[in-house]
Amino acid sequence: MNGIHDMGGLHGFGPVTVEPNEPVFHARWEGRVYAITQAMDTTGLYNLDEHRHEIELMDAASYLTDGYYGRWLFAMERILDRKGVVRRAEVDRRIAQDVAGEVAPVEHADRAWPVPSETRIRWGAWRKDVAVAPKFAVGDRVRVRNHQPAGHTRLTHYVRDKVGTVTVVNAQAWVYPDTRAHNTGENLQPVYNVSFSGEEVWGDAAEPNTIVRVDLSEDYLDRETGA
């Protein structure tokens, strides 16, 4: 989707600010959100691409102000709510109980937990035990499809319709993020590293002697014929 998360090449964010002696987490809650999300990878509730896509669905203003782990918190809460695992109203109620010093047990009825083994969702990104036959080889010229789905994609907007050269063929069976994010299939396929000249991507704004190298699923690419 064409969201604020797809930041490559945007203007308006100012200089890169480096914080000296930065802690791993800037607040306790950041570490908890990070670690809970990590622990989710064994629950079968959702996958990495669903997590990423949920972040993309934030409104743009919140995306920019909530911070990195604020986005993770948002994604986790909304996915758990939508899937009927932990509802937003329950979180609100627990906050109110904490304020009031009340202790209330959770209700286990009417909840999409535990996940039956046949509907468990794999978190991870790829699997090695399936053979794939790469369509492209190192040196091939490819044009990135002008693919603009409303849903999830890892095709960065700034390389759409650009021509580059395949430099690395990762011939393992990688899941296709565009479908896996919506649980409509893994569509295992190779991922290529494609090299684009600065001029191809940035036109008259390109800096001298720069190259952008982007990892792209096979379904994002067409063979470039001619020239």
Partner: protein, 209 residues
């Protein structure tokens, strides 16, 4: 941001003493307690994961990899061929680094890593990324004007040095193998590991003796 800090110990962030909590902290605590009560996660496991990332992993792991590559050409060849397998020789690896591509800086090619879509980073080798790596400014600018961004961050490269920006938007993670600096010829592997910085392994700095 955690707001204030007290001066009586390094673990002050673990308790907020009734000061106004950020809303994210409030929601996170409520969510964690519900998940814990439901048996979906255990807070003890969450404690372990947090301390693992705070105390056990970090750029020192990557620095060991780089120092080994500088002192052992056979290891370096294996590292460039299959980053994850070579790191496993040093006992490094784990979740979220499915595949590691190590890219070598030379006198004529400089590599720098970004993820414009979220902030993908080789956690198991470098720890969690710094805030600047996750910032909108870095993510937006590193691909379009890398020369200027690097110069602002203190690394000015001549125009005849090619800059390769790796936008790591798939599940492949990148580690920059920096150039061994002049003056480091006589150093041992351990001494070399001490001078390799996180920023050099992202590609926004050079290693200095």
């Amino acid at each position: 941001m955690s707001g204030h800090h007290h001066d009586h110990g390094h673990d002050d962030h673990d308790h907020d003493h009734g000061a106004e909590k950020p809303w994210q902290a409030v929601r996170t605590e409520a969510l964690e307690s519900l998940l814990n009560d439901l048996g979906i996660i255990s807070s003890a496991r969450i404690d372990e994961i947090v301390s693992h990332y705070e105390d056990k992993i970090g750029p020192k792991s990557g620095a060991r990899v780089v120092a080994r590559a500088w002192t052992d050409p056979a290891f370096k060849a294996r590292l460039l061929a299959d980053g994850l397998a070579a790191c496993a020789e040093l006992g490094l690896g784990g979740p979220e680094t499915e595949y590691l591509h190590v890219v070598e800086n030379t006198a004529t090619v400089h590599n720098v890593v970004v993820c414009t879509l979220c902030s993908c980073y080789p956690w198991t080798i470098l720890g969690l990324p710094p805030a600047w790596y996750k910032s909108s400014a870095y993510r937006s600018r590193a691909v379009r004007e890398p020369r200027r961004v690097l110069a602002e961050m203190g690394l000015t490269l001549a125009d005849d040095v090619t800059i390769q920006v790796w936008d790591s938007v798939s599940e492949i993670r990148y580690l920059v193998l920096p150039e061994r600096p002049p003056g480091a010829e006589g150093m041992t592997e351990d001494e070399l590991a001490d001078i390799v910085t996180r920023d050099a392994m992202i590609g926004v700095a050079r290693v200095q003796v």
